[in-house]
């Protein structure tokens, strides 16, 4: 830490001394005003440079400027979003000019790691989206802005809980057991992706309204500059900044109603009663006619009892402009989102401050930003979702004589254990957390006076996140039991903190030498990650206190990196990057990650230059190596001992001793390395009305960081984190964007993207043994797994028995194909299972459209997922007759029992591995714009949006989109109706 502050001191000394320098003396003076072709108003912040020199200035708030130049100088006027102009002074002293807005110029600069590049110089697979491309009506979860928009990027929200996190995958997973999350960089700050207790979604602390653009770096040549964190792609988020000029005030308001999209089809009380009567007559499930008499008399739809229509509101107020020529933007956001599950809620307050002053004729630019947020979450008990499906529909919600808070409970009616009353769960649980986060950074760019092509950058920042939460239930909460099933309530509390500090120092040199253009970036980065957590568990009456030992851990990441982009005639572009990363997590700290890429701007060739129908053609080839250091532990190579907690002592004599356990470790553990080869083609035709990008890639990951079984007797345990195995992802991405209609009153933009990815494990264990059954996964019970990873198959394939069907297509209970041919009991031999399908979609597609007609705009976006399979664990664990009465209590049953009529659970039947292909309409939005509302200056937009509008699928569960492929009663994703207003002046 001391070192860090010492450096900050040095950093500020440099800043101050540079700022105090006087501008160089000039000769003849030229003055004038720069205006916008839009509305003729003065344009502040336009940069004016004497061509071929470092002499320059910027316009003031009204667009005025004054500069001393030679009388035969040429002035270059440039401003983001406008076409640059070169004007010869020719002895004039007054030059007023009008800059033309340039739509293509907006997208001409692409943000890349540690800087930006002109689009023509980009060689990697990069997709940039700015706010106009975003999905509408996104309030809580920033990742939803991107949903379905980018080929190769899949975003699956973890559940329908307010502010829920999401699993983001770029081109499938490059890793098996280590993290597959992309690196997320917010305003130049690579953020810690480690979760924190009490925080549902690390991204949720960012207000979606503050996001200016997303840039997704997909292939290794684009990501390699991030080295050991780049294997799963990089998402760069840039937030909105202030602009020179008068204050601009913007208000966004949204109200929404969320409703349950679908209920699981279970029996109502009458259907259930007749089922039980029938089963009792046959003596199934331990039922008899006497037990039928004990059924209740109510008709409770438990799912309707726990869900509600939830109201949410969202307000954002931002002010941007400049004070004493310092551009600023301040925004405040408030989101209050209620969940459709009773008593669940997320509330966020966020404040985002941005200052972007420049000094010394723009030689020094400073970008100071602070993003603060406070998130309150009421998680409640999502276990109620499953219990509502199972709870006996003949019982009442409330029971006056019940000692358990007046809720009907099985314990109260004779059973020693049973399904918890879901309404009681939601009303008696107090499971809340508050999290604070501050991301602050200051970036200083210095364009060197005597060498204006060289820009030096220092970026220092801190990201600190704290949370505090509790999970309580009283002594009368029947569902809050201890390990032995005794109702003891609970009072658990926890807190945690994640902090990372960053320092980056880098330089960029860009220069054109005739036909040659060189852009070099080189730098050094230091980042420290620290995490701690504390937890205490108690019974509801504060007895049985168990202190979980405090957890504190840290790691450092140091990097040297460089990127050279060389362009010849703007035709051929070569990019080479090299990053040397040092991680404290490995004994051999350092490793090199190189990449090379080539792009050919074919339009510049003589044979295409004059073909008018073709506006742009670019071929891209890339190769690169990236790494993975997101292992599960910060000290995996160290020989350590762990002390036991107070509840795992051992008695010798009269004394209890805290024990010391040696931990298994691999001293030679190293990075996972992924090699990516990418071929891409970008074509733009018919006046750029149709833009096509096609990418193909092969990604091979070696030295997979796996927590794998080690052979018995080799180490202190039976598993170890080590480098073993490899896997391959091969894929194709197609992205089409079209503007079929573009006229004064009507504009139509449409987009389509397609992703095909195939994953295959190519090596898994140290010794290839055909008898090896593979790595188990997908827990569905005590030591019961439904998935398996094996060489030659996609990771996490379902591992099941092949169901035999009768002539009319109904599954025959207990009859499975004897795959080994060994005879005997098929189900008692694991080798009779086979690998059948997997959760990853073969093909993902995104479709979106935006229509602007006069003052109306209409847009939608949706996704198609093909070939994704789901194990319907809800059905497999509930829909069998012996489940109707179990552990002395009744349990409701899905109506799909009529598909199987299974008497016993058939958990491993491939019947439950079901095609969950779907089309989802994620977002439909209609807007109306008013230019002059009440006064001249007030602009307004009114909008109506539906999220999760409809789903087309033949999958019978609640939702075919299941992260990980095990459908287990997750908090269902709601359908949301939103009405919004946007005001600005």
């Amino acid at each position: 830490m001391m070192k860090f502050y010492r450096f900050l001191n040095v950093f500020f000394v440099i800043v101050c001394s540079v700022a105090s320098l006087q501008a160089l003396a000039q000769s003849a003076r030229v003055t004038g005003k720069v205006t916008s072709s839009d509305d003729g108003s003065g344009l502040p912040g336009v940069s004016i440079l004497e061509k071929g020199t470092s002499n320059g200035t910027v316009t003031d708030a009204d667009g005025g400027y004054s500069i001393n130049v030679g009388t035969d100088a040429v002035l270059v006027f440039s401003f983001v979003g406008y076409a640059s102009q070169e004007v010869a002074v020719s002895g004039r002293t007054q030059i007023d000019i009008t800059l033309e807005t340039d739509v293509t110029a907006l997208s001409e600069v692409v943000i890349v790691g540690y800087g930006e590049l002109k689009k023509e110089d980009v060689t990697g697979s990069i997709v940039a989206l700015n706010s106009k491309d975003f999905n509408k009506g996104v309030t809580a979860s920033p990742q939803d802005l991107l949903l379905g928009k980018v080929a190769g990027v899949s975003i699956t929200s973890n559940s329908g809980a307010p502010g829920s996190g999401a699993t983001i995958r770029i081109r499938g997973g490059s890793s098996l057991n280590a993290s597959n999350d992309p690196l997320i960089v917010i305003d130049g700050f690579p953020v810690d992706n480690n979760g924190l207790a009490g925080v549902a979604n690390p991204l949720a602390s960012i207000n979606p309204n503050d996001i200016e653009s997303y840039t997704v770096l997909k292939d290794a040549s684009a990501t390699a500059i991030y080295g050991s964190r780049a294997s799963n792609g990089v998402i760069i988020i840039t937030t909105k900044k202030g602009k020179q000029g008068k204050p601009k005030v913007e208000y966004d308001g949204l109200v929404s109603v969320s409703t349950p999209a679908k209920y699981l089809d279970v029996m109502d009380a009458n259907e259930y009663r007749s089922l039980i009567t029938e089963l009792a007559a046959q003596g199934i499930s331990g039922l008899n006619p006497a037990l039928v008499e004990t059924l209740g008399t109510e008709n409770t739809d438990w799912q309707k009892e726990i869900y509600r229509n939830a109201l949410s509101s969202n307000h954002n107020l931002s002010v941007s402009g400049s004070v004493k020529s310092i551009p600023y933007r301040v925004s405040y956001g408030y989101t209050n989102q209620e969940g459709i599950l009773m008593n669940t809620q997320m509330e966020r307050n966020s404040l985002n401050i941005n200052l972007t002053p420049s000094f010394m004729d723009d030689h020094i630019k400073l970008n100071v930003s602070a993003k603060g947020s406070r998130i309150f979450n009421n998680f409640n008990d999502a276990g109620a979702v499953g219990n509502a499906v199972t709870f006996d529909p003949t019982r009442p919600v409330r029971d006056e004589v019940s000692p358990y808070g007046g809720y009907f409970s099985w314990l109260n009616s004779g059973a020693t254990s049973g399904t918890g009353n879901p309404v009681a769960q939601l009303e008696q649980t107090d499971n809340k957390a508050i999290a604070h986060r501050l991301v602050g950074n200051a970036q200083l760019d210095y364009r060197v006076h005597f060498l204006p092509d060289l820009k030096l950058t220092v970026n220092a920042g801190i990201d600190r996140q704290e949370s505090e939460g509790h999970n309580k239930a009283g002594l009368d909460a029947e569902f809050a039991r201890n390990a032995s099933g005794v109702v003891v309530g609970r009072n658990n509390s926890y807190s945690g903190m994640n902090e990372s500090k960053l320092l980056e120092v880098y330089g960029n040199y860009a220069k054109e030498f005739g036909k040659h253009k060189v852009d070099f970036t080189g730098g050094y980065g230091w980042q420290h990650f620290y995490r701690e957590s504390f937890a205490t568990n108690r019974n509801g009456d504060n007895t049985s206190i168990v202190e979980i030992p405090p957890f504190k851990t840290e790691n450092f990441l140091l990097s040297f990196y460089g990127r050279l982009v060389y362009s010849l005639n703007s035709k051929y572009v070569l990019t080479a990057t090299l990053r040397n990363d040092g991680s404290s997590r490995f004994k051999d700290h350092w490793s090199l990650f190189p990449s090379f890429a080539f792009a050919w701007n074919m339009k510049e060739e003589s044979f295409l230059r004059n073909v008018e129908q073709i506006n742009d053609v670019k071929l891209r080839l890339g190769y690169g190596q990236t790494g993975q250091q997101a292992v599960f532990d910060d000290y995996p190579f160290l020989a350590t001992y762990s002390q036991s907690t107070s509840t795992a002592q051992y008695q010798l004599g009269d004394q209890f001793y805290y024990t010391w356990r040696p931990e298994a470790y691999d001293p030679n553990i190293k990075w996972e390395s992924t090699t990516t080869q990418n071929v891409g083609l970008d074509v733009s035709i018919i006046d750029s009305k149709l833009r096509i990008s096609i990418d193909g890639y092969i990604r091979e990951t070696k030295d997979l960081l796996n927590d794998v079984k080690i052979t018995a007797g080799a180490n202190f345990t039976n598993h170890i984190l080590t480098n073993v195995g490899s896997l391959t992802n091969k894929g194709v991405e197609v992205s089409l964007n079209a503007t079929p209609v573009s006229s004064k009153n009507l504009t139509w933009n449409a987009g389509f993207n397609l992703t095909y990815n195939k994953n295959e494990v190519t090596k898994l264990i140290l010794y290839d043994d055909p008898g090896y059954i593979g790595l188990p996964g997908g827990n569905i019970g005590i030591n019961a797994n439904i998935q398996n990873t094996q060489v030659g198959y996609p990771a996490n394939s379902f591992f099941v028995f092949k169901q035999v069907y009768d002539a009319s297509g109904n599954p025959i209970e207990g009859l499975f194909v004897d795959q080994t041919g060994e005879g005997g009991s098929v189900i008692s031999n694991e080798f009779n299972k086979y690998r059948f399908k997997n959760p990853a979609a073969k093909v993902l597609m995104g479709v979106n459209s935006r229509l602007d007609y006069k003052k109306f705009d209409f847009s939608f976006s949706g996704r198609i997922s093909l070939g994704n399979y789901v194990y319907n664990n809800t059905e497999s664990s509930l829909a069998f007759y012996n489940n109707a009465y179990s552990l002395s209590h009744f349990r409701n049953m899905p109506k799909s029992i009529s598909d199987t009529h299974f008497i016993d659970r058939q958990a491993y039947s491939d019947f439950y591995v079901q095609d969950a292909s779907f089309f989802k309409m994620d977002n439909i939005s209609l807007g109306y714009n008013v230019d002059k509302l009440l006064t001249q200056k007030l602009k307004a937009r009114f909008s109506l949006t539906v999220q999760n509008a409809f789903v087309i699928t033949k999958y019978k569960g609640i939702d075919p989109e299941v992260d990980g492929g095990l459908d287990n009663n997750i908090y269902p994703r709601p359908r949301v109706f939103l009405a919004g207003i946007n005001l600005s002046f």
Binding site: N482, Y524, T645, T647, A648
Partner: protein
Amino acid sequence: MKYNKILKVAAVGTTLFLGSCISDLDVKPLTSNVKTSANVYDSPEAYKGGLAKLYASFVLTGQQGPAGQSDLAASFDEGNSSFTRLLWNFQELSTDEAVWTYTGDFGGTLGNLHYHTWTSADSYIELMFARIMAIEVIINEYIRVTAGTDNADLKLFNAEARFLRAMGYYYGMDLFGKMPFVTEADEPGAFLPQQISRADLFAYIESELLDIQDKLGDAGFEYGRADKGACAFLLAKLYLNAEVYIGSPKYTEAITQLKKFLAGGEFSGAYSLAPNYLDNFLADNNTSPELIFTLNSDGEKSQSYESIWTMIKGNTNGWGGIRTTKSLVEKFDNGDTRDHFLTANQTLEIEEINQRGQGYGVYKFRNINKDGSTPASDITGFTNVDNPMFRLADAYLMYAEAVLRGGTGGDVNTALTAVNALRNRENETPIGDISLGELDLDFILDERARELYFEHQRRTDLIRFDRFTGGDYLWPWKGNVKEGTSTESFRNVFPIPSSDLASNPNLEPNDGY
């Protein structure tokens, strides 16, 4: 000029900063409950903490009771990974003494134990194999760090560690026959251990136990510690089953060890029969004079889902996981007070293994004290009952059996007295003496069931009497048939797990698998 100055400052600053930052990469754990191998054993107390882990490894499952920081892979349910719980599954569920309701556990394979249909891929088999060998590697490390010392305490700790290693290998040899074999000469790493034959492992265990016999503490010197009594008992167990393990009898050697427990023997005075049978199975059973070696639990400080917790919480009064077959129930005559069955709402017959209402429950282990009070820690849901691994009654029965099987150095009248002593405990209604004529091997096998049921012994006993597999002795659902049917003799040992065969080419499968 000024720019040069700036650049100089920047250059110097950067150099200083970089130099000091690179050393940031050398990190050490931050919490006091994690130490490195260099500083962990910095006090005598710490050495005892290391020793306590060796004992704890046989009953607890990780460093955070009752679950958390598991010793074994998280892909397994930690609660099911306790050594005693797994041992109980193997030794009891595969016999006439117990059935398990939730046959879906372990991916639907746990029922295979009772049916004698297990395969090398059943994960409880892999789990036990891993548990035993993980214990051995941890013990080897401890033996290394306590070797070559003159400190009397450490020498004793070292001998105890060797006892525990021998005990771990004993159970491995009993269950699996051949085992991977590692000693303190093998540093932990990613190497491939060699396999040792059952006979060689037998010889190793024997030589280790004989070598440490005099190095261990005197019988009963400290509760919970392995002492000379425990060592003699384990040797006796090894010798009594020698015909099974190595094909040649060692009953005389067994008698030599067991005589130490009888009147006038080396340990006379150290142990005596508990006045009440149940004293050995209650929350304060640490006060029973009969226990020779225990694996300890405590409701507050030493929590896990070990076998006794499972037997208490999972009986038919609890979550109903465990019941027994009529074959055990019918071994008890009227008046035998050792029959602690739960019969309310239970049928004697088992029509379906997964019906908790079928078959009697067993209520032998109880988390109450001798005086009937409930320990304060009962509220945690965990028990104070220590696991009576070796107890005097078993020594008496082993002695009688060794004599009847032709071992020399003992005599049948002493055997009769010892057996009758179990049936006439001080505070119990006498069950009634048996006569010399009634004392035969069949009686011993049944008497062991009556005295030692649910004590992790039954499978070994049935194999010694050649009644575990084959058709000579049937019980309900043996061979997956309600009346019971013959099973194949290769199942007298369990298979080497398929995943271990795959990960270590030095391992050969057992015959028949």
